[in-house]
Subunit: 467 residues, 2 copies
């Protein structure tokens, strides 16, 4: 009987497991998960911490017993410690019992995810709360609820850090965000991030940009303050008083096991795969936060950790692995790549981005023109027309849309999917100007916001027709 | 000095006038407008009637004096009565003074718009209130405010009729919608319109579907009731008690002048133009509600009356006419055509549609598969996830997306622009499945709603890969 071993029971792994089980019903599918949960929405954790989502269970799409009921063998609290490719064994450790074991395989799905970046600072292990797994979300929320916290430091000014700071501020807790960069939300260009930054400070959240943690000041057995310095580490800055430090510095792909097993690691630092998610070993597939994907605009591999990619990649990997198990063939699905689409809602504003920022375009050596402007979400004469800032980038000469960003007071985030499609299919600003995009006064002016951007870019790029 | 005469001072005409004046500064541009307003948002009229927009002036983007300040000669209350192509004269009538005149031209922009459909029923001239021009909107609102109306009949269950009925219901006035069809919102398929219909009835609005007006019952000098019959006219149905009758039966292109002048009228019943909006007379361009456009999915001409098209067509016509005035050449812009995108918000739901409905696809002889399903706007575990119904059509064999509809409790209307782009560029459901559309829990699940639709259509069409 064919045997598939899945390392990791979240979005990518569990999706692949289900796909293999459906496609090759007589295969034995064994899924190893080191945490307490399977198939949960990691993207939902901030909403659980904020209390918008009441129970951790609400975030679970499919529990271990549900997976088992569908015919997948699930081993919880079980870490894969090595992949022995010669013997075709995955070595395991149940960290609750200390028991080791090994799982023979015909194929492996490597879906280990990512682990949070943690600065090497004494005391952070004790007082630092990472926020990456659901277990960590539960721990953070327990702390917030159980202890009368009054001051919290948040390391990292990305979307998770801001989201946590917002949840803290809403509970009346003083929150300070410490970030090495000169702006929050580095996934946006500075002129767009500035809108978010203003909202963050309006909520009473303190920003310490261009600084980094250098230590923890204790007072008795407790955390008293976070010591900080300038980014070069040369100058101390004023310590940030805090009882707890939330660590939200982003995550790095969890590749140790793959690296030890001799699988190819790509230039992005994640596991290298082909378009059907197969690694350099023809019996091992990888999917989710641990892999790299082709960026369709730069042609370069990138590691973008998002549940939407993990789900798609899990399907593709599962289909290809199933075809291999059946007759050594290949699956029919391919993961074509990404354009960097992302949305979120923070501090009352909706945020969307796709394609390349100015910094990303410059780094990729792509010549471009960019426009940024402020507008309204509805027709200007409607009540509460709503502020929105829009940015679009187009490539010099070709006029192709290569990036877009939007930040607004109302429901604008999902509007980013329109330029996301343009970035994917290679639409030019000249074409954008005349597309049949929808219009009614509750949703904007007669020229859609993206068309306003295109109309500004056409002359900037020296293209025609200039409307 | 070159002379351009613009017939009609709303979106299409005024846009063309401005474009010609900018491109050929020494041309004399004369704009004839028969109403009291120029460059106003016709799409905003229902919001003025409902009171969301306080003043009629708020809907005016550019007043006659603003046009004059920019160098356009504006003649208000002036109807064009004939185009004498041999003498190159537009005959005019100032209906306030009765004075006739004529305007010599080198080129004409024909932007006469459309006029409301009005049934030929005795008494309707007296008690019927059309709602097409801003003047009519002002008259309707005056009636609503000035008289203690308690019962109003609305002819037509399209978006304007529903919008007015909603505004009436909100003012505590009994509203009854009378429509010949078997459903409201005939721009949607029945399975989608049903959601809107339910909301309409929940507001206490009475629906009389499959009926038509046959007369007015008077009581003294007043309207007492609307007499109605079945659609075949054979059977009287119960009269609808009403003091006023709002006429919202849609509009037909205003082509009389063009027809009298011998210009080509297309099969849609609107003025035929080329892709640069030139009519069959090389000195006359037409734009806006009075022209027909190429439907990009059927290849057939259609008349779609929307401000967004009028604006674009006005630009294209203006650029082409300006090139003709300069050196007899052609403009650089083309209006490529439409895919039927439209959005609105009615009775608490947002509505979007693009491409072809099932009825339209069948009429065009296009084989297709369609899926309709209910989902949530946010991730299912978020508070108030919001109901949404989604529909998508794809062409048999090619798998191309050829239509989409969405109706939901939250901000979903503008999501229709994504399938609008797919309809325009020819994207297949197979491609849709793997596109990098944005995802975060406040905005949906890991698979975007359109991707859920595509994943249902792929197997229905016998395509691969089936995820």
């Amino acid at each position: 009987m064919a045997r598939a071993v899945i390392i990791g029971g979240d979005a990518a792994g569990a999706t692949a497991a289900a796909r293999i089980h459906t496609s090759v019903p007589d295969a034995q599918v064994v899924m190893l998960e080191q945490g307490h949960w399977t198939s949960y929405s990691a993207c939902g954790i901030p909403y659980f911490v904020s209390g918008d989502v009441a129970e951790a269970d609400d975030l679970v799409a499919r529990s271990p017993s549900q997976h088992r009921a569908r015919g997948v063998t699930v081993k919880m609290h079980t870490t894969a410690t090595a992949i022995d490719r010669d013997a075709r064994l995955v070595k395991t450790l149940d960290w609750t019992t200390g028991q080791t074991g090994s799982e023979p395989y015909d194929i492996v799905i490597y879906a280990t995810g990512a682990h949070p970046r943690t600065p090497d600072v004494e005391g952070l292990e004790e007082f630092g709360l990472p926020l990456h797994t659901l277990d960590e979300g539960v721990a953070l929320r327990d702390q917030l609820l159980a202890r009368g916290l009054s001051r919290v430091a948040v390391l990292g000014g990305g979307y998770i850090g801001i989201e946590v700071a917002e949840a803290l501020a809403q509970r009346g807790i003083d929150a300070t965000i410490i970030d090495r960069g000169s702006q929050l939300m580095k996934t946006l260009d500075a002129d767009m991030a500035e809108v978010v930054q203003q909202r963050v400070t309006e909520l009473g959240i303190t920003l310490r940009l261009g600084e980094q943690i250098s230590g923890i000041d204790r007072d008795g057995g407790r955390c008293h303050a976070v010591r900080t310095t300038t980014v070069d580490g040369n100058t101390d800055t004023e310590p940030v008083k805090a009882e707890v430090v939330v660590i939200a510095l982003g995550s790095v792909p969890r590749i140790d096991l793959a690296k030890d097993a001799g699988l190819d690691i790509g230039p992005s630092g994640a596991v290298a795969v082909d378009s059907r998610m197969r690694t350099s070993d023809p019996r091992i597939w990888a999917a989710g936060d641990c892999v790299e994907s082709l960026h369709l605009l730069t042609g370069q591999p990138v590691n973008i950790q998002l549940g939407t990619h993990a789900n798609k990649q899990g399907k593709v990997a599962g289909l290809d692995a199933a075809a291999f198990l059946r007759d050594g063939g290949r699956g029919q699905a391919e993961f074509p790549g990404v354009v960097g689409s992302a949305v979120t809602r923070l501090c009352g504003v909706e945020i969307g981005r796709t394609g390349l920022t100015e910094i990303e375009a410059a780094a990729a050596g792509i010549d471009y023109e960019a426009v940024t402007f402020d507008g309204s979400i509805k027709a200007g004469y409607m009540p509460d027309p709503g502020n929105v800032r829009v940015k679009m980038l187009a490539q010099t000469k070709t006029g192709r849309v290569i990036g877009a960003q939007i930040v607004g007071d109302g429901p604008v985030a999902k509007r980013i999917d329109v330029p996301a499609v343009w970035c994917t299919v290679g639409t030019t600003v000249t074409q954008v100007q005349m597309m049949d995009l929808s219009y009614a006064p509750p949703f904007g002016g007669a020229w859609d916001l993206w068309q306003v951007a295109a109309r500004k870019l056409v002359p900037a790029l020296g293209l025609v027709p200039q409307l």
